[in-house]
């Protein structure tokens, strides 16, 4: 399964009012499927912070489902965020980690969690890490068929949710490009969330 194939499935079932935060390779692939006013393309970013930004949004907007799309390399830069997230218990937060075992956009060097980067030690089980950090809803998908069959459950269960999808890396893949000036995009995003508030009649 490629990341793009997995994201197509998500794109097909994403609700209009869902907030989708994407980073690194997932941002590149998600943008290729189209744009949405409640997409937060986290480019430029501080690598690894997408899960933390998602937590903040989920806490501020418990009425919205917040879906974070990130990679294994980013996750292991900010593993503490898993503990922070479960400590805050946001029922509306879903973390999807696309695990290719490498830092894809820098030339596919293995991560320290992947078997190829561990000098003979076994690979780190990211799903087990999430469970040990306090996530009760943890999923693991190794094929597109599994993901296609499981996606509805991932999106339906009470959060916080953690799912890791094993994907193939793309040789020569490039990083995502910012779709425009960041401050202006932030203002538009805030307006899109406010519009949703007003549409719901919320204060």
């Amino acid at each position: 399964m490629t990341g793009l194939e997995a994201l197509r499935q998500l794109h097909a079932v994403r609700r209009d009012h869902d907030v989708v935060i994407s980073a690194m390779g997932a941002a590149r692939d998600w943008m290729s499927l189209g744009t949405h006013p409640r997409d937060w393309v986290f480019v430029p970013s501080s690598m690894g912070q997408a899960t933390s930004l998602g937590l903040g949004l989920a806490l501020a907007r418990p009425d919205l489902r917040v879906i974070v799309l990130g990679g294994d390399g980013g996750l292991i830069m900010n593993l503490g965020s898993l503990i922070t997230i479960t400590g805050q218990a946001p029922a509306n937060l879903i973390i999807l980690i696309f695990d290719n075992g490498v830092y894809e956009v820098t030339g596919a060097q293995p991560t320290p969690a992947a078997e190829a980067g561990r000098a003979g030690a076994p690979p780190v089980d990211l799903a087990a890490l999430a469970r040990a950090s306090g996530f009760e809803s943890v999923f693991r998908f190794g094929t597109l068929d599994e993901w296609t069959r499981g996606i509805e459950e991932v999106l339906a269960v009470r959060g916080p949710v953690f799912a890791v999808l094993t994907i193939t890396s793309i040789p020569g893949a490039t990083g995502p490009r910012s779709p425009g000036p960041a401050p202006e995009r932030a203002r538009r995003f805030i307006a899109a969330l406010l519009e949703r508030t007003q549409a719901q009649g919320l204060p």
């Binding site: 937060w40 430029p44 970013s45 501080s46 690598m47 690894g48 912070q49 997408a50 933390s52 930004l53 998602g54 937590l55 903040g56 949004l57 989920a58 806490l59 501020a60 907007r61 900010n78 503490g80 965020s81 503990i83 922070t84 400590g87 805050q88 960041a182 401050p183 932030a186 995003f189 805030i190 969330l193 406010l194 508030t197």
Partner: protein, 164 residues
């Protein structure tokens, strides 16, 4: 270490300023305020490492909340890239309180390199800060936070710490 301002006063200030969340890693001074901040109805978001704090605050701000980041200067050092992204790339106006480790203990505990690096690093990150060193400076701190919120610009309060 005793904070130069009581927690109840700080909590009252933050509530009056409309702060909804304090995103924090405590130190022995700032951590004393936690019970009062929670008691007044502001939600504490305890993060594991300071880089998280800026990103969590960013998400809160984007979602319509009014967060404040609170950490020691050592955490500020650690969190530079996240701070850069949130305050400069995205230009989100997140106010902060930064504990200035050892500032009040310079005579009894000299040699803490926090004293060497904290202010130059704040200047390098182009964060407008005010240094508060005594209880008479409460209005200075209050003004800095209020100005940050009114202007929509990130500003920091650098809070002297260290005297037992």
């Amino acid at each position: 270490m005793t904070a130069i301002f009581p927690g109840a006063e700080v909590a009252g200030l933050l509530r009056d300023c409309g702060i909804t969340h304090v995103v924090t890693v405590p130190d022995s001074t700032l951590g004393q305020w936690e019970p009062d901040i929670e008691a007044i109805g502001i939600r504490l978001v305890r993060v594991c490492r300071e880089g998280e704090a800026w990103a969590v605050a960013a998400g809160l701000y984007l979602g319509g909340a009014r967060p404040l980041v609170m950490m020691q200067c050592t955490g500020l050092f650690e969190s530079g890239d996240s701070l850069r992204d949130v305050l400069h790339d995205w230009q989100l106006p997140i106010p902060s309180i930064i504990g200035y480790r050892s500032y009040l203990s310079q005579e009894t505990l000299p040699g803490d390199t926090c004293l060497t690096f904290t202010e130059p690093i704040l200047r390098a990150w182009q964060i407008d800060y005010c240094l508060v060193t005594e209880s008479a400076h409460f209005d200075l701190m209050a003004g800095q936070i209020r100005t940050s919120l009114a202007e929509g610009k990130a500003r920091a309060v650098l809070l002297a710490e260290g005297k037992a």
